[in-house]
Subunit: 342 residues, 2 copies
Amino acid sequence: MKSKTAGRVGIEDVAERAGVAISSVSRVLSGHKAVSESMRKRVEKAAEELGYQPDHLAQSLRRGSTRTIGFMIRDIMNPFFSIIAQSCEIELQKSHYSMILVNSGGSETNERNNLNLLKSRRVDGIICSLVSENTVDVKSNLKNFNAPVLLLDRELPDLKTSSLLCDHASGVHDAVSHLISEGHTRIAFISGPRNIYVTRNRLEGYERAFKEAKLEIPTDLVKLKDFSEKFAKEETLKLFQLPDPPTAILTGGIGPSGGALYALKDLNKSVYTDIKFIALDEWPFFDILSPNLMSVHRDPEIMGKYAAKLIKELIDGGAPKTIVIPTVFRNHESLTDQGFGK
Amino acid sequence: MKSKTAGRVGIEDVAERAGVAISSVSRVLSGHKAVSESMRKRVEKAAEELGYQPDHLAQSLRRGSTRTIGFMIRDIMNPFFSIIAQSCEIELQKSHYSMILVNSGGSETNERNNLNLLKSRRVDGIICSLVSENTVDVKSNLKNFNAPVLLLDRELPDLKTSSLLCDHASGVHDAVSHLISEGHTRIAFISGPRNIYVTRNRLEGYERAFKEAKLEIPTDLVKLKDFSEKFAKEETLKLFQLPDPPTAILTGGIGPSGGALYALKDLNKSVYTDIKFIALDEWPFFDILSPNLMSVHRDPEIMGKYAAKLIKELIDGGAPKTIVIPTVFRNHESLTDQGFGK
DNA sequence: CGTACCATTGGAAACGTTTCCACACAACGG
DNA sequence: CCGTTGTGTGGAAACGTTTCCAATGGTACG
């Protein structure tokens, strides 16, 4: 009843109850060394009895650190991304960081605004999956950001950022090689824009497989623009108008995979009998409900954990570094051997 | 160069540049009425030139409001929940709220800790999907929470909270009635714990369908404990040990659905030919890659939007209310008619 | 026994805003 | 011409912490 603010119990209330100074309470509670045992006990008792919870805002303001990480993502509904974010969140929580997740929806204007928002919220670090590696605006915003930055599947060598990349090339290479070994040559490849690491890297794997087999690269089947479902659907439909349509399709990312699948449905083509389909990235229950589909797999949960680790290292003053996560080609055909999902 | 803190530009820098008092800058930037046109222009110009971004921390501390919503969820990896959270976050962003997402992982200890975390972070409101409606500890924590609370698929009438519920009963009823009309009577039902709204409500629909058909309820096929994949898998395996095993299964939630599907795979039973499978809640690409499966559908995106709306209303001083979202039974068999996914 | 040092503690400034209050000045009515 | 009202502005307190600094008292050492 003595407390000034009716609702909240503040450090002052604890100090009063323990009969000590405010500064002493702070020292005890923040684990400072120079406190006597009796002081420690009295303060801890008082804090416990009052159910004192330090005000994170005030702490942050004073300490100059919010223990909050900003996570900016292109498509927050995409299960692949959201698993990364969530696994990262779980990992960060262990170190008492919180996460603010913002969605750019693939728009560079939103990216800029979101960066300002995060700056305003004074996050201690930011993790982001950028739309492009070439948006001048966003890059300068990142450069002036007064907190360390971790990029997902992007490279900006001129900025002092860490990067978490995936070795898409080898997974895609193995997938395409497998298709070629089965006799496919008309292998379509639909993915995002050419000017970002992930697409460049996937394309590299795709082309390498053809070169190794001494085959011409079917450039008329390579469709690179964005990660939207819409684009992938339209392109898939067009591909089957060709005189020499594809016999296999690779789609990069969950959005495009969905787009292509919907197109195939419209075309009345079965992914189980009519065409080989390889998804780059999986979605929940992929392995169990999508017999005959193949994929290039990377583990978003692991990626989230690495992301947490990398950003913490940067915050703690570590030097920027790049980590590359492996991808593996998964042939799920074995599932049908078990008679499941005929 | 005059600024005290090298890195940041503060309101003081703006004031200095504009040649006015700090308080005036604040008034202009927060859209206060009593400012002259000349003052407004000078301040806005100075702020623009310096690229001033107000410090959200200091604002929050002073204003007593963080414009942040806490979102506590049981299983952050579950695509159904994560879509709700994300849709909600997109909606909140429009009103300049941010979201802090925390994961209880289904543990009541974590729930308590997370609530303390959110309290400490002084969120303006909290949205949560609780493990149980009966955890004394958590309930008292919620009651003492100095911000409004919105519950997802839970009811706590003695607390002054809003609730966002779903009308599971009618969807489940329709699904079970459909199965009965096809001649099924051995219909298993696997879902979460009995003592929460969602399970009670689903069970109600399940039982009503049997009663309407004047059939005995097969209580030996009803397995209610938790939403884990593990439980559902084990129970599914056990169900097929019965002398009179089920011919159809309903599983409540994405976790349990996955568990049951993995069990069926182990049992070498095809969900396409051997058993009718109805999922309560769908997952990404359900409609396109899971031919012959049926579901009781509710729209997580809509739920997220309602959640945002409800919590904002509470924050703005509105009275607690309950909204009920419909669910619909979806029979996907039509997909096979198109020859897709044989 | 005095001095220097160390361990502990309390007081107060600081973090970057918002907002209350007081003041200056103009306009206005009596 | 003076009191009243109103408008715009600046100064300073406040939000709830942390941390710097000074002060206290005790102990060890010369």
